[in-house]
């Protein structure tokens, strides 16, 4: 079986996996990294959203081969040790989560959005495709704005 090496949450990892295995299952089933969630497997729910070289991507629709030699960050790699990322802090301050299942993906999407657009408008936030079946959307919006303003609402 081919091996693939990439940087995962700051460490280099090498896995044996078929070239076409979606990264989601490499992460979840081979590496035990379960922060990225399965919600559809076809790129439409965005529950698995993580970062590839700092950009948001959906590991369910990217093969492990395409990630070789690149840098993958999942929700587990966002905080700096015990120090949470400001977006994670904003999520706690705004008490965003309900069931929580979509939230790793929502947070990774928000972090990528704020990197591209440090002061997003409502229209920018409206572009987010991630489903939250619990309907926490208003608090997601509030948390993004809070993080954008450096923690001040």
């Amino acid at each position: 079986m081919p091996t693939h090496t990439f940087v995962l949450n700051g460490r280099s990892v090498t896995v044996d996996a078929p070239d076409d295995m979606p990264l989601l299952w490499v992460l979840r089933d081979k590496l035990g990294v379960t922060g990225p969630k399965y919600g559809c497997g076809v790129g439409v729910c965005r529950a698995c959203t993580s970062h590839l070289d700092g950009q948001e991507f959906q590991p369910c629709t990217h093969s492990v081969k395409d990630c070789a030699g690149r840098t993958v960050t999942t929700i587990e790699g966002l905080a700096d040790g015990d120090t949470l990322h400001p977006v994670q802090e904003a999520w706690i301050d705004c008490d965003v989560a309900q069931c929580g299942f979509c939230q790793p993906g929502q947070i990774m999407t928000a972090v990528a959005l704020l990197r591209r657009t440090p002061d997003p408008t409502d229209a920018d936030i409206d572009q987010i495709q991630n489903i939250c079946r619990c309907g926490s959307y208003p608090r997601i919006r509030e948390a993004i704005k809070r993080a954008a303003s450096g923690g001040n609402p």
Binding site: D29, G39, G41, C99, C134
Partner: protein
């Protein structure tokens, strides 16, 4: 009140469930560990409703513990609890409020008594604060240091009664979720995240139509594929076990199967609608001399689509079985799975794991039952996942329904209100019937079905509209259905609220004033006033935009929604603002309540404007969120304003409360913005 023979007079479904759970309500386990943590073992499921946080607040208040010292693990299935481990009917806080406080107050009394013995001082002079017992002279013993002694206190030396409300620090204060940090760091574990040794990723190939059966199978190619561990047959399909889900899915695609069509293979939406129309009981009152208004409404099937797909881990061995999944009804699951495996109930352990949403879906343990069958057949532990497509095509649905309403009126009064609801039969076989029997309901004496009892207990018209009559006709179809957040009210009350608007306009009255003049409950009138004032009801709106209101009361709570909707682009109407006012009696956590009301708004927007499932020749058309259009960020309002009334009385249920009122407000705003009378939901389907 019901007033039927064989049925106790209770106010609503929640009361009935509390009655059923009463004999075992005191069997809560509150443990103080030597490390000083208080763990309330919760016989309910957390699926995002914030229940564990609300319970932790109650415990922390009564114990005088720090909130951060309280844990609320979910109990395994406990058959001795009988009917008291069913999460549903917006009933958890209502049913646990007294028992949890009693358990915590008793624990506090024992800790104080243990400290008094240790120090040899009168217990009455001691106080508690910050997870410790304090003496007047400044001495302090942490709860952890007293845990062992407290456990052996038989008769506490101080009263073990819960505190009066004015001495509580936490209840009623906006409080963040106790599991927020776990969630935002990805550490919160759902069934699919558990690392159970040897549990093989597993998926099931399912029939081409709902409830079809396997005709032929050739698994030779699939079995030879890399990573495949086993292929086994179960009643609902063919299971593939592999080293990873990717390999299981690819091997599932490689199975060569043919299927016998299921019992509804010749049915499509149009047929179901026609059958529902034919199922109605006739109206009692033919319109003779009085003016009347008729309305007919269709609601589509709606998948629950919780974010976390159905997932269950099962480890079935000779003589015993162990399961891990998000279970709303773990006791019934344990009984059913034990019977299926030919094991005594005591040989089956059900570990209850937090769920990624439910909305009623996890009342049923479809995946757990299959996982048990597969684990038994394959002789190894399995981690079964239903794909999104599996749950869209073969999962459960809010049943499609048709509603016929006739209101007669005269001299400014509504004289009669008849509502005939016909729904595809709702599967309620998840322990509710047993619970109602336990509560003293004798349905056979009353001569009604379980669904009729449920309907009677939940469907109430809150207005003075002469003599309201409501009847349910059920259409039995072999489809998978289930209670969907707010159950019958999600359609019955929505149709009523749309008719209230239409009748108000017909009678030349303002929609809010018309409701207000007829609402029986004063607290409800205050809510209408609140949203009308805060939402500036009646303000001029640009063409294509309008406001709409909806009101609902159930399970000891009441709520009003006022939304503003922009329908300039009819294909993409958007709710642009919402003002919500709620009164649910005693609120434990206002932040949690607001989250439930906001979530209900998303549900209302979705089921009214966007999201439903089509039945095409015995199979559901939608396959994922790509075509099942649950609301996304762009469909929900940037501005949501929530007003909570001051706490009073006992806690009401809030998890489902918002859905009917939010749905109605959206439908009414759409009607006013477009000048149309929407009759079929979702509108853009």
């Amino acid at each position: 009140m019901l007033g039927l023979p064989g049925i106790p007079d209770v106010l609503d479904l929640g009361d009935a469930m509390i009655l059923a759970g009463l004999p075992t309500a005191h069997l809560l386990v509150l443990e103080i560990t030597p490390a000083g943590r208080a763990a309330l073992h919760l016989p309910r499921l957390e699926v995002g409703q914030g229940l564990t946080t609300a319970i932790a607040m109650l415990v922390a208040d009564e114990l005088d513990a720090e909130l951060t010292d309280v844990d609320v693990p979910l109990s395994d299935g406990r058959p001795e609890l009988l009917f008291n481990q069913l999460t549903g009917g917006s009933n958890s806080v209502r049913s646990l409020y007294d028992p949890v406080r009693a358990a915590a107050a008793a624990a506090r009394a024992r800790l104080v008594t243990a400290a008094a013995h240790r120090w040899n001082v009168p217990a009455s002079g001691l106080r508690t604060a910050g997870s410790a017992v304090l003496a007047p002279d400044g001495r302090r013993l942490g709860f952890g240091e007293l845990a062992a002694d407290a456990a052996s206190v038989v008769v506490p030396a101080v009263p073990a009664t819960p505190k009066p409300a004015d001495q509580r620090r936490l209840v009623g204060r906006p409080t963040g979720r106790i599991d927020a940090r776990d969630i935002v760091t990805g550490r919160a574990e759902y069934a699919g995240d558990l690392q159970i040794p040897g549990a093989a990723p597993t998926v099931v190939a399912r029939p081409t139509t709902v409830n079809g059966t396997l005709k032929s199978l050739d698994a030779s190619v699939a079995r030879a594929m890399p990573g495949v561990l086993a292929v086994v047959q179960i009643p609902s399909g063919v299971a593939v076990l592999a080293e990873t889900f990717d390999q299981a899915l690819k091997a599932r695609d490689a199975l060569r199967t043919t299927w016998t069509p299921g019992p509804v293979a010749d049915l499509s939406d149009a047929d179901v609608r026609a059958k529902l129309r034919a199922a109605h009981a006739p109206f009692l009152l033919p319109p003779l001399l009085t003016p009347y208004l008729d309305g007919e409404f269709d609601f589509a099937f709606v998948n629950h689509a919780p974010m976390e797909v159905l997932t269950a881990v099962a480890d079935v061995r000779p003589g015993r079985a162990e399961l891990w999944f998000a279970a709303q009804s773990p006791i019934i699951a344990q009984q059913t799975i034990a019977a299926e495996l030919g094991l005594p109930q005591s040989a089956v352990t059900v570990h209850v794991v937090r769920g990624g949403g439910s909305f009623g879906r996890r009342l049923f343990f479809d995946a757990a039952l299959e996982a048990a069958q597969i684990s038994k057949a394959a002789g190894r532990p399995v981690k079964l996942m239903w794909t999104r497509n599996d749950d869209m095509r073969h999962g459960r649905m809010r049943p499609a329904s048709h509603h016929r309403i006739r209101a007669t009126y005269g001299l400014g009064q509504v004289l009669t209100w008849e509502h005939r609801a016909a729904t595809v039969r709702t599967d309620l076989s998840h322990g509710l019937g047993e619970a109602l029997t336990g509560a003293g309901f004798n349905l056979s004496v009353a001569g009604i079905s379980l669904a009729q009892a449920f309907f009677l207990l939940t469907e109430k018209n809150p207005y003075n509209v002469g003599i309201p009559t409501q009847l349910l006709a059920e259409l039995p179809l072999q489809l998978h259905t289930g209670s969907w957040r707010s159950v019958y009210s999600g359609t019955v009350r929505v149709a009523d609220e749309i008719m209230m608007d239409e009748l108000a306009r017909r009678m030349g009255q303002d929609e809010v004033a018309f409701r207000r003049a007829r609402l029986r409950d004063a607290a409800g009138r205050a809510l209408l006033d609140t949203v009308a004032k805060a939402g500036d009801w009646g303000r001029p709106m640009p063409a294509g935009q309008a406001q709409g209101v909806g009101y609902h009361e159930e399970n000891g709570g009441r709520v009003a929604y006022l939304v503003e909707l922009d329908a300039t682009d009819r294909a993409n109407p958007r709710v642009i603002k919402a003002v919500i006012a709620a009164d649910v009696g005693q609120v434990i956590n206002p932040r949690g309540l607001e989250a439930q009301l906001t979530g209900a708004l998303s549900d209302g927007i979705s089921v009214i404007l966007l999201a439903g499932n089509h039945l095409d020749n015995g199979t559901f058309r939608e396959g994922s969120y790509a075509d099942f259009h649950y609301a996304r960020q762009r469909n929900t309002p940037p501005t949501v304003e929530i007003h909570l009334m001051p706490p009073s009385g006992a806690p009401g249920g809030a998890g489902e409360l918002g859905v009917p009122a939010a749905s109605a407000a959206v439908a009414n705003a759409y009607a006013r913005a477009t000048g149309t009378s929407p009759r079929s939901f979702p509108i853009n389907f």
